[in-house]
């Protein structure tokens, strides 16, 4: 209980300055700064981000850290275990695995990121248009997606690679794009259907905004939170799919390495040289885990309702 000295009470009116204590002063902020501030509070997400950044750094600069390149054979140094000379050892042809792992990571990560972003961008646009306009356009697009989704994506991938020829990054990205937009289009459409009934979308319509403006300025950004989470969760599956295609011989062709390619080569001699199998597996696993954890963190950070 506060002790009030009744005879000492001051009854002079308060000036406006003394009153305005309740107003909270906040620094100027943008949406992405706000998201970043929130993401920073989540330790696992930040740890994942740091690990991913390290991986990217190593993928870019790792091959320069020793004097080997990824394609030169050296039969005198074949099948060596990790050592001071060859940090991750060498393969059957005596190629330095340290270099090959990082160069392979370059390929795998590039495919993963491109084959996620491109199909998502296409899917969002198609889904956004479909959801916003509704009616016949929506019917048509949705039926097409239904049909395409009914066929396993691996079949398209294999067919396409057989037609276009395997081995190049662009072929793989194209193959993943053709099937990858379906899911994101569906998700976006669902989100847009909910959003377009919201009053802020009506407000924009009554201000005379064009449908494209509404879709690009209001609808898609508001789906982005969920979509980005979906994206970070898709990257691991693309890495895995690339590894799988390489494994069955439809991915990157030797001597070019990718993580999947490295795993495939090593699997043949797994019993004799387990390190050759384990090392790329660790990196694939680590990358997938980090993207998943980052996705979780992003979902929380992007949700304005969870912010305060």
């Amino acid at each position: 209980m506060q002790i009030i000295q009744r005879n000492r009470l001051d009854f002079t009116p308060l000036s406006p300055d003394e009153l305005s204590g309740e107003e909270m002063v906040r620094p100027e902020t943008t949406y992405f700064r706000d998201v970043w501030r929130n993401l920073k509070k989540r330790k696992t997400a930040i740890a994942s981000l740091v690990i991913l950044a390290l991986l990217v750094f190593m993928v870019l600069f790792g091959p320069m850290m020793n004097s080997y390149n990824y394609y030169s054979n050296d039969y005198s140094a074949a099948n060596q275990g990790p050592s001071g000379e060859h940090w991750f050892g060498t393969d059957t042809l005596g190629r330095d695995l340290w270099t090959r792992v990082w160069v392979g990571g370059r390929v795998s990560l590039l495919i993963a990121i491109l084959a996620t972003i491109i199909p998502y961008a296409i899917g969002m646009l198609i889904g956004g248009v479909s959801g916003y306009f509704g009616g016949k356009i929506d019917m048509l697009i949705m039926r097409i997606i239904d049909v395409l989704m009914g066929i396993p994506s691996l079949i398209y991938d294999i067919l396409l690679i057989m037609v276009l020829g395997s081995g190049s990054i662009s072929t793989l990205v194209l193959a993943f794009t053709i099937t990858g937009w379906l899911g994101s289009a569906r998700t976006t459409r669902g989100l847009v259907l909910q959003l377009k009934e919201r009053e802020f979308v009506m407000a924009s319509t009554t201000l005379g905004a064009s449908p494209m403006r509404i879709i690009l300025r209001h609808l898609l950004p508001n789906t982005l939170g969920i979509i980005v989470v979906g994206m970070t969760m898709t990257i691991p599956s693309v890495i895995f799919a690339e590894a799988f295609l390489s494994f069955i011989g439809l991915g990157i062709t030797p001597p070019n390495p990718s993580w999947g390619q490295l795993i495939k080569e090593a699997s043949e001699v797994f019993k004799q040289y387990p390190y050759r199998f384990i090392i790329p597996c660790i990196f694939v696993g680590l990358t997938m885990l980090c993207f998943n954890l980052l996705g979780d963190g992003l979902r929380d950070a992007l949700d304005p309702r969870l912010r305060s």
């Binding site: 002063v25 906040r26 100027e28 902020t29 943008t30 949406y31 706000d34 919201r198 009053e199 802020f200 009506m202 407000a203 924009s204 319509t205 009554t206 201000l207 005379g208 905004a209 403006r213 300025r217 209001h218 950004p221 508001n222 304005p304 309702r305 912010r307």
Partner: protein
């Protein structure tokens, strides 16, 4: 008193198909005139079609039949440029202050959207105009860079008003702008709207279920029931000399914040619920609950007739 007619509806009708249940008549043949600079209150209970009517007026819905005239021109036969102009002239503010602002846009972006669409101000002038609008609605300059979730309901409603105001509209359709707010905040927003009307000469179509509020601020009031206007008159006239039994029941049902008055009042309690607007019959929509209904009321729908100058009612028994 005779002011120019800005916005007019002629036998406006809007229905929605409900799968498996039939046709929902949200707006069934409404004739309204909104004069320049006036406040027309549109009152009714939930499901009476008042919100649909408001949304049809701002071109969110396309009417099934009937016309909407703005300054004598049909708004659905406009060309692209006229259409854009209509969106500048007729603006709307919304009921839910939490849903009516894009959660990802800072305040200045929300307010500036209309300016960008209509190419009204650019660069520095645009920024100045936004700050000016913020001050007009009683917010600070510092609020410009904040997100909607940082504001209270009343402040968000102010932002919504500033957004509508940005394009200098001549008609503002207010769709229950205060019903989601606290009592003390409601009065703030109403005062703001009244002040802005004096400053800019906008006409208001004020849609609400709150008859006491609408009476205090409107020049004329239209009472809606199941998609039709049942009575329309000047605010004081409607209150003192209403003649439609629904208006009478509605007025008597509203509690007055005064215990003695409440204790003395006699209520006309309507039996039953508001019927569903799906598959309406041919008679007077109110006949089912009306204490004065007779056979004729169940048979034919009464037209809106002038009972005295400027006072219209749709009832066979008047």
């Amino acid at each position: 008193m005779e002011r120019k007619v800005l916005l007019e509806t002629q036998d406006l009708r809007k229905t929605f198909e409900i799968r498996g249940r039939g046709t929902l008549t949200a707006v069934g043949g409404v004739n309204l005139k909104l004069h320049a600079g006036e406040t027309l209150g549109l009152v009714g209970e939930s499901g009476c079609g008042k919100t649909t009517l408001g949304r049809t007026l701002v071109k969110l819905y396309r009417p099934d039949s009937g016309r909407i005239l703005f300054e004598g021109k049909d708004i659905w036969t406009q060309n692209r440029k006229e259409n854009l102009h209509y969106h500048k002239d007729v603006q709307m503010i919304y009921q839910d202050p939490y849903a009516s602002l894009d959660p990802l846009s800072v305040v200045s972006t929300s307010i500036g959207e209309g300016l960008d669409i209509h190419g009204l101000y650019r660069g520095r002038e645009r920024r100045e105009r936004i700050l000016e609008l913020l001050q007009m609605v009683g917010l600070n300059r510092e609020h410009a860079n904040r997100f909607p979730h940082e504001f209270s309901g009343g402040q968000r409603q102010r932002i919504g008003i500033a957004r509508a105001l940005a394009v200098e509209p001549r008609v503002l359709v207010c769709d229950e702008p205060i019903s989601a707010l606290d009592v003390s905040i409601q009065a703030q927003i109403i005062n703001l709207l009244m002040r802005l009307q004096q400053e800019t000469g906008m006409a208001y179509l004020f849609i609400t279920h709150d008859l006491s509020m609408v009476k205090a601020i409107s020049d004329r009031i239209a009472v809606m029931y199941l998609g039709s206007i049942v009575e329309m008159a000047g605010a004081e006239t409607l209150y003192a000399r209403h003649c439609h039994p629904y208006t009478e029941a509605l007025l008597s049902a509203i509690p007055i914040p005064d215990p003695e008055v409440e204790a003395k009042r006699k209520r006309i309690l309507l039996r039953g619920d508001i019927p569903s607007p799906v598959n309406l019959g041919k008679g007077c929509p109110f006949a089912g609950r009306c204490p004065r209904a007779d056979a004729k009321c169940h048979d034919s729908c009464p037209e809106l007739r002038e009972v005295e100058k400027g006072h219209f009612a749709a009832c066979h028994r008047v």
